[in-house]
Assembly symmetry: C2
Homo-oligomer: 882 residues x 2
């Protein structure tokens, strides 16, 4: 029979920090802190295994009661108090704690063990009746909500009524008598609602709480959170039962939360909030505005010094930013929790780099400390510094980045507007876990209340969404019409922009820009580059994009789409003339008009990528995209082309396709209209010759799209080689170039060996490959794909994260078959997956030479590639979560 209970007290513990899977993050760290000698109230942890059995079989595991009773007896002995004792009652907290951090998603019961008799003992023992009845009313209130599943609002309403009746504002102003009455009223309410007495037996209370915590694993909020954060559904939660220490034991008591460094900037300075005479939940819930942690210094210099020393020890021990909870009971500090603190990507980078400087981390550790996903969040947009802004109000900069959206006031509306395609900002008085689904769809979050560690702030940082909290001038309660700022109504549906980096909220939709890399990131990237094997290129169609990507570390262009070279300005007229032309000569005449412009386009890109390879994809989209579809446009064009409207309409009708994604596009264009391939090849080679003459090191790689059979590549290649010969002969100058193909059709993967006979490189076009492998049109997937992902039918959206089982398997086949024919075949990927960290890791394992992604994802890909290489030798990134 497995052991279900792990005890910790007075410097020794059954568990330690490496037992998170079994004890949950909270339990493992309580054990660890106890071992290290930090002041932790004694207690024990019921394992996640017990929870899993309970979930599976719906019963308390055999043997658990005996273990719990034994542990309780040890606590009684250590504290010299007894569970249910009228004189010296033992009170405990019961808290959830899973292996992965799920802040606020599951349940907690404090002050457990109170009833009408023990509360009197507590009052006498503490010499403070008000304190005892405050604990009692809190206990009944929490137990009713968490264990008995009664709605919290009724209890909250009674509390407010009591305050009104007594003419006070704060909970703390209620006297002992009022609180005793309130506890009575709460119990009566329970009786009324459930038809049963509130349980007064502490053991019954304890088992009720333990089972409620087990059950909270499956509540809707928790399920939703796990889905978003990809937490395994069957892990279960541990239960931590700990003797109570009291922050509400008068003015020399209090509770607080803190980060050992600033989780937003990474600055090395204690950062947190503190509230005197309260229990911990009050701080996090944002019910009263907490004090900044520095205020503790005056309030209790000794407790503050002890806190600072403790935080230093924790950082030395864990070698990372810690997020802690503590209580001061009559001047004495107790640690209730520590965990690696969630942080912004900027902070993650700064902290990792600083810790290397402090000698606590190696460079390799530092690289592993920053997740590519976090770095990606950091690369979110910011307010354009050149934009005119109209500051509506200011609050706390709770989660950096900037985003605009229309004002919505409740989470359901956020979801509705989001589904209708609108960008939304969720504006709330404060948020609770029930708002989570609205926060998921919002572009940004704005609250009137709460501090930097409030629910809204923590959740927004976790999702990388811009967030401003504690915007005191905001009143979200304007009868649902919008929100008030200094009495002025900002209507719902109107645009605002939230700047979570500065705490500002701006009127209207303000332009945003991408961030620059900080010195710390550049440093970290330098280390990452030393570990990675995979090359990182960019997808870029213009010299500007190419330059930007190069600054971000791109080592070449993996995909130049040439479509715009046919669409821009007047060029589309020439293209249309080509489509209308009756013969090859006519097509050639039309295309000749745009060749010089394309030549200039290529020169710019080659010059920007001096010294690096540039992969150019020949024209890909279906012809109908070049023709107008609406009435007046057709008339205009008909005049231009010298055709009748009827003729042109017939032509447009002829090139319209039932399934353009599977139509006359890709190399099928170059095969049926070889003139297009000719003009593109000529523009490329002329540009290459011109820049090489200027001393630019140019390495063009010409890529044929949508090849299904080697014969297509062979024929297109013949045209390209012929044009190259002509251009080089004319110029008296050769440029080294290569010809390869996109592998974006299943048939190309399975016939890769034959294709590699003609291809010097492969580039997997995973967007189209995913479409054809799944038989899903990306344009149409909206009607079922979100449903599929939400219900877990597909594990992830295959357009976001590469589908390893299906698409990935075909990629592996393509790589191995291709290299069978040509061992040195260069292989890359240029779909949007090239910037997705999990997909980058796959590309590493599949033996690709490089990934190519959009410029702003280049750093993400570099870091992901380093992680993938380190994972190969067993060193993995550990998610910053408890």
């Amino acid at each position: 029979m497995p052991r279900y209970v792990y005890f910790f007290a007075n410097g020794s513990a059954d568990g330690d920090k490496d037992m998170k899977d079994l004890l949950g993050g909270k339990g493992a760290n309580l054990a660890e802190m106890t071992r290290v000698g930090l002041p932790v109230p004694p207690g024990f942890t019921v394992t996640t295994e017990a929870c899993r059995i309970h979930l599976r079989e719906g019963r308390i595991p055999e043997g658990l009661p005996a273990e719990v009773n034994e542990a309780l007896a040890r606590l009684e002995s250590i504290r010299d108090r007894r569970f249910g004792d009228r004189k010296r009652p033992l009170l405990v907290s019961v808290r959830s704690g899973a292996a992965a951090s799920m802040p606020g998603m599951m349940d907690t019961v404090l002050n457990l063990g109170l009833n009408d008799e023990t509360v009197a003992g507590l009052a006498e023992d503490a010499g403070d009746a008000r304190f005892a009845y405050d604990c009692y009313r809190r206990f009944v209130q929490m137990y009713a909500r968490v264990v008995l599943r009664l709605p919290g609002d009724d209890f909250e309403a009674r509390l407010q009524a009591k305050k009104r009746a007594r003419g006070v504002n704060q909970d703390t102003e209620l006297d002992a008598e009022s609180l005793q009455e309130l506890a009575g009223e709460f119990r009566a309410l329970v009786r009324e609602r459930t038809g049963r007495e509130f349980p007064s037996n502490p053991e019954e209370q304890l088992w009720g709480a333990i089972e409620a915590v087990f059950g909270s694993w499956m509540n809707e909020r928790a399920i939703h959170y796990r889905r978003v954060h990809r937490v395994p559904a069957d892990a279960g939660t541990a239960v931590n039962v700990q003797t109570m220490v009291f922050g509400n034991l008068g003015h020399d008591s209090g509770s607080g939360v803190a980060f050992t460094r600033n989780p937003s900037t990474g600055e090395k300075r204690l950062f947190g909030e503190f509230l005197p005479n309260c229990q911990g939940e009050d701080v996090v819930a944002g019910i009263r505005d907490p004090l900044a942690i520095e205020a503790m210094r005056e309030w209790s210099p000794q407790a503050y010094t002890e806190l600072v020393t403790t935080c230093d020890r924790l950082e030395q021990h864990y070698r990372d930013l810690q997020d802690i909870e503590f209580t001061v009971e009559r001047g004495r500090l107790y640690m209730l929790q520590t965990r690696a603190g969630k942080r912004t990507a900027e902070a993650a980078v700064k902290i990792a780099v600083d810790l290397v400087g402090e000698g606590l981390l190696t460079e390799r550790d530092a690289v592993l400390r920053v997740s590519p996903e976090d770095l990606e969040l950091f690369l979110h947009p910011r307010i354009d510094p050149t934009a005119q802004v109209d500051v509506l109000l200011k609050g706390l900069p709770a989660s950096p980045g900037a985003a605009a959206g229309i004002v919505v006031l409740d989470p359901d509306e956020a979801v509705a507007q989001g589904e209708a395609g609108h960008s939304v900002v969720l504006v709330r008085q404060e948020t609770s876990p029930d708002d989570f689904h609205g926060m998921v769809v919002a572009q940004a979050i704005l609250t009137a209340r709460g501090g930097m560690t409030s629910h809204a702030a923590v959740v927004a940082r976790g999702m990388g969404k811009p967030c401003v909290v504690g915007a005191k001038e905001l009143d979200a309660d304007a009868e649902g019409r919008g929100f008030l700022v200094r009495g002025q109504l900002i209507e719902k549906g109107s645009w605002i922009t939230v700047d979570g980096s500065s705490g500002r909220v701006l009127r209207g939709k303000v332009a945003t820009v991408q961030p620059q890399l900080t010195a710390e990131i550049r440093g970290l990237m330098g280390w990452a580059d030393r570990f990675r094997r995979l090359g990182v290129r960019t997808n870029a169609d213009t010299p500007e994009d190419a330059r930007r990507a190069r600054e971000l570390g791109a080592e070449g262009i993996g995909l130049v789409r040439t479509e715009h070279m046919f669409f821009e300005g007047d060029r589309i007229d020439a293209m249309r003339e080509m489509i209308v032309a009756r013969d090859s000569a006519g097509r050639r005449r039309a295309l000749a008009k745009i060749e010089p412009m394309q030549h200039a386009d290529f020169e710019g890109i080659f010059a920007a990528m001096d010294g690096f390879p540039v992969t150019i994809r020949l024209l890909d989209p279906p012809l109908h995209e070049f023709l107008p579809h609406a009435g007046p446009e057709i008339e205009d064009l008909a005049v231009k082309m010298g055709m009748s409207k009827q003729q042109l309409t017939a032509l447009v009708e002829r090139v319209r396709e039932a399934n353009p994604m599977l139509g006359h596009r890709g190399c099928r264009l170059g095969i049926t209209y070889p003139e297009i391939t000719e003009i593109q090849a000529r523009a490329i080679f002329k540009a290459a010759v011109a820049v090489q003459r200027r001393g630019v090191v140019v390495e063009p790689e010409i890529m044929i799209p949508l090849v299904a059979d080697v014969e297509e590549l062979r024929r297109q290649r013949a045209i390209i080689d012929r044009i190259a010969g002509e251009v080089f002969a004319e110029a008296g100058l050769r440029v080294e170039y290569s010809v390869g193909t996109m592998i974006e059709l299943p048939r190309a993967c399975v016939t890769a060996q034959a294709i590699a006979e003609e291809a010097e490189f492969f580039s997997f076009g995973t967007n189209d490959l995913t479409q054809t492998v799944f038989g899903i049109s990306r344009d149409d997937a909206g009607s079922f794909l979100p449903f599929y992902v939400e219900r877990g039918i597909y594990k992830a959206d295959p357009f976001q994260t590469l589908d390893e089982e299906g698409v990935g398997r075909l990629i592996e086949m393509g790589v191995s078959e291709g290299r069978r024919a040509r061992p040195k075949l260069k292989v890359g990927i240029c779909g949007e997956h090239g910037g997705d960290p999990r997909s980058v890791a796959f590309c590493h394992r599949a033996g690709l030479d490089y990934v190519s992604c959009s410029p702003y994802r280049v750093p993400v890909a570099r870091l992901a590639a380093a992680h993938a290489a380190l994972a190969e030798v067993g060193e993995r990134y550990q998610a910053v979560a408890v």
Copy 2:
């Protein structure tokens, strides 16, 4: 150095019938007939290898002249004549002859060796000046056209002018003097056109003719023919040089062609045509109407008897129908060619079965003698016997089957109208190889002149197109306005129907029906069934189709498409109501209306397939197919549905898809609207219970379409199993059923192992699989796929013949992975490839359990499956071609 020349004369020959690749069909059979002791004029064959060298290197292969000279010397010695001799000149014919038969596609020169001097010797030697000058003018005319490439019309015009001048109608009525003049005029015409003298040196003539035959391999007609008939482009032709025998040596001479049995019906009786006093080309060209072969009996009893005996010997020897050419010179028979005769499928079957009866073939040989492709041709439509017909005229039934089309008068117009989507009947005075491209696109062919062995007849039979020739009342020359029948104009563009089985031409577009199986075919099919391993099912959506397919030998239904069960009559209203419904209850209400009708549909199908499995595919097409798209229809529906026009238009717009082929269809419907799966499952199980109660043996196989991931199948299966349980419990009766999936997406192939955990059977949907593997929309492929096939970029249209390298490889992967998870997994194919012989052979090799095809292809698939099984033990069908 290889040997280039193979000699044959007087009972011995260097070659034999098995050397077709080297000697061509004609050369190999001339050698064989010589060996067997048949009367063959001596000669020699220049190999295809020499031709290939000539094509490749553009020169006469080294050593060939010496070999030719040596062979010529042997001929001179045998015949006691000399090439170029003034007294006893040796004349030869020079004919092409490739390994594959390409009737009329390449060139021939007769009477070679004549000039102004040798013609006089020939006249004297034969005692017939008219004959000698007839040979001379023929020679100059043919040589000018074939070797010197001058247009034949000019020469034909001179011949006609000469006849007019002499007041005669037939070539044979021209006297010696006129023919001598004509030869002179022809030579003058050559001088005028080419600026050079007509070559009088026989050796120069011979080499000119040999090179011309080599070159004729690459003429446009030959290239086109090879493309249509899939003859390898690099095989080359042999050249047969043979001493001339003369059918134009007076009234006891003549030429003829014959089949040893009737090639249209298979009847065992000599069948052919004969023309006295002519050379062979006259018979085939249809210049004069030939006599039926029986007429020879009166004309020359001895020659006729010798012919019949010879034909018997050839059949005994070759164990097959022979197609022969012969010449009678002054009463003596000479064989000029034999080859396996092209025949209709009906004849092929009858002959094979008869030859088994005659002890010449085994049953296995007989099965191998009929190609599935031929059988397929036989299964072409015929005139509906219940149709009212208006017979316009009658001709010879040259190629069976019936088809309707609009009248076109020249091949280019046939192509143009065909491309415009019209069915056409090509109507010509007579056809020539230059008409081939028009015949390819025509549904049927009708000529005024020519016999059963005329060009039109032979080509039409080869392509399996209905053809009527020799319709004497027809005059195709009506100034391009149409054709005349007894003076009445049938305008071009008007509809006619050609019945190639009866020789009738009908006014208008007459209904056609599919044929019944003859006793011979049933017999042959019985033998075939003994050899095949692959099961053959049918695709059928109605009881009628199911019954028909069963008669044709189907062993179950491999695909019931259920779409029509939602479209028919009022049902579409319920379907539309479902699409419009806001919730699951509304959808269920709507669908409940059509469940009883579907129940009845399934009962009918199950009863028709009593004892056989029936695979039912759940609803597949995208939702938008159920909604109207045009204005008035939308208005009507809006009224019916109680919506505003705007609302309905918005809904239609919402379900419209960019790429419906890759959209919200297949199991994605059943996943997002489980009510559809429920109603289909309920209708199926209720029907199964009802028929089983009546004693029908029912075996439903429920097939989930478009599965990309096992999870889709798992969830659909759960619904089906639940409904089955409900229906069986209610009925108190269980029906055995299985649940499986279409494998029609690449991802299903590569994840087949996981899918097979949930699937009891796989059915490859190769239509969609081909679309996704190639990334080609069948609806849109018209803009490039024909171009691809024509230019040889793709070897075949992958929608007609399964692409083994790509699609096939994924199928093989799907089969092996699927059977890894479930060794007894039943695997079939239900795409249109299931009735394509080459694809059936692939399915056999890939280890499938069955193929499923449209009812009329069932016999084709049965035969193809037998051939595939026999091929496995090394016994292959040999194409009937020389």
